[in-house]
């Protein structure tokens, strides 16, 4: 066995998630998430010498009296990758990744503020995330013949996972048939209400620790086996064109995440067939079809028939978003929903997913972003120590 120091996903925690968490603030939820994840890991605040919390990181270091501490600057699931690297390079020993949101979006006359940036070439066209992702979906439907019914299969599958997840905001709100999705009110064609992520409130945290600390861990560790990041530009400032491409001859934006997935699998030394569960980012139903193609789980234009054939159901070959995802579990602002894909992946590897456990899950693929947002990031998690 190698003596190389590695990083372990030692703790995870989701606070309560709900459409509204009255009495909570983003900060109060962040503290609950941090202490919860540390407790899950078997560690305490005194062990922490690194924080990754997007713009809140520095303030948390001050308010929690953690200095001198490493501070991460990544976003979403790449926060996990950045923390792994920081630990492997010896910049920190125990890092808490945290994100939480309450009270930022209470007036539902407009869509959530983080869905509609004020860019002069976007704002007057009435754009928001549903419309951005619809422009990608419509292009695929026209080029490949992907159908409205196939989108409904994705949404019904994910919402039926959430229906059975006691921690999901929409627990017990199903079951859904594909026809129920299609019958919900239209939002931004081809998307209907039930094709779309909810907006909710909640927090979450992940603790990464040096493998030197393995003696104190309370849970079976999970490991980052590989990762990749594909960006094509800033989200929601330029036309979200499927064919947007860089000068290097690489894949276009519609296949965002392909290079990232190829890199992640190469790092892990794994094949697509080794993946047991896919905790895909599901802001809108079509995005799951797109990612299955981009990540090479099926061929170009085959994503629609692939989901319609039942592959993505819990008992299928490629179960997706097993907590109910952004549609049914939670979508608490910009960053929690991103990190929660990793948390669900770890729950599956621990065998802690309750009625939604994928039997014998040992490798999980997690993703963030989507082609409507001009980026996709990918991470492979496993229960087998990679060093």
């Amino acid at each position: 066995m190698s003596k190389r120091r590695g990083a372990v996903i030692a703790g995870i925690f989701n606070t309560r998630q709900a459409l509204r968490l009255d009495g909570e603030t983003s900060r109060s939820l962040a503290i609950q998430a941090i202490t919860g994840a540390l407790d899950d890991a078997g560690l305490t605040l005194a062990d922490v010498d690194g924080i990754s919390a997007d713009a809140e990181g520095a303030a948390l270091i001050y308010d929690l009296r953690l200095g001198p501490a490493w501070r991460g600057s990544a976003f979403g699931l790449m926060m996990v990758h950045e923390a792994v690297a920081a630990i492997e390079y010896g910049l920190a020993n125990v890092i808490v990744i945290v994100a939480a949101q309450a009270g930022a979006h209470r007036s539902h006359a407009a869509t959530a503020p983080w869905t509609r940036p004020e860019n002069e070439f976007v704002a007057p066209w009435g754009m928001f995330t549903a419309a951005e992702f619809a422009l990608i979906a419509r292009r695929h439907m026209e080029v490949y013949g992907t159908t409205r019914e196939q989108l409904s299969v994705v949404a019904a599958t994910i919402r039926n996972n959430g229906d059975r997840n006691p921690e999901a905001v929409y627990y017990g709100r199903g079951p859904f048939k594909p026809a129920d999705i299609t019958a919900s009110r239209p939002i931004a064609d081809p998307f209907h209400l039930l094709d779309c992520a909810m907006t909710s409130e909640g927090g979450c945290a992940v603790v990464l620790a040096s493998s030197d600390r393995a003696g104190s861990f309370r849970r079976k560790p999970a490991y980052v086996l590989g990762a990749g990041a594909d960006f094509y530009g800033p989200s929601y400032q330029f036309p979200p064109a499927w064919d947007l491409a860089g000068r290097g001859g690489g894949d276009p934006n519609g296949l965002a995440g392909r290079r990232a997935a190829d890199l992640a699998f190469a790092q892990a030394g794994l094949d697509r067939a080794d993946v047991d569960v896919l905790e895909l980012y599901d802001p809108f139903s079509f995005e799951v079809i797109r990612q299955l193609e981009a990540f090479r789980f099926c061929g170009a234009g085959e994503g629609g028939p692939f989901v319609a054939d039942g592959h993505i159901q819990l008992g299928g070959s490629h179960p997706v978003a097993t907590d109910g995802g952004l549609m049914s579990f939670s979508h608490a602002g910009v960053n929690p929903q991103m990190i929660q894909r990793v948390i669900r992946g770890v729950q599956q590897l621990r065998g802690a997913a309750g009625p939604l456990q994928v039997k014998g899950a040992r490798v999980a693929l997690c993703s963030n972003g989507g082609a409507g947002a001009l980026f996709t990031t990918v991470m492979l998690l496993g229960d087998d120590r990679p060093w």
Partner: protein, 142 residues
């Protein structure tokens, strides 16, 4: 059968708009003259939109404004039924249009029914006021 409520029109109310910067102000000033502008690189001849300070292809600073004929093809679209904010009246149709000069832009399709919209539908620019000092380049079936 399309009801009058489903017909796609320019927005009637004053719309939100971000403040143009020095690079983009000429585009909006031209819209007020009912002209659609884009940038053309004086070095590599690439068409550039949205406006940039340097050519995104060859990085040269020699970008000059040119007038587009305002003709293009529908690349992708959506019909919005839940407005982003109450300032917008539904339905409206955000779209990506590929201009004949070789660039793409976001817009809304107007003077059409949702059922008319299809891939590569020929479209042309049509301007409409959308609030104080704001004239928007919409597109309609050509």
């Amino acid at each position: 059968m399309v009801t009058p409520q489903e017909y796609l029109r320019p927005q009637a109310a004053q719309l939100p708009q971000a403040e143009p910067g020095p690079v983009t102000a000429p585009f909006w000033a031209a819209c007020r003259r009912l002209e659609l502008l884009y940038q053309r690189c004086g070095h590599c001849d690439a068409a550039m939109f949205p406006p940039a300070e340097l050519c995104r292809q060859c990085l040269a600073p020699e970008l000059r404004w040119e007038r587009s004929a305002g003709r293009g093809a529908l690349y992708s679209w959506t019909i919005v039924h839940r407005p982003v904010t109450p300032a917008f009246t539904t339905p409206y149709a955000p779209a990506i249009v590929t201009l004949a000069e070789g660039y793409q832009m976001l817009t809304n399709i107007v003077h059409a029914t949702p059922g008319q919209l299809r891939l590569d539908l020929p479209v042309r620019v049509t301007f409409a006021e959308a609030g104080a000092g704001l004239v928007l380049p919409y597109f309609e079936p050509a």
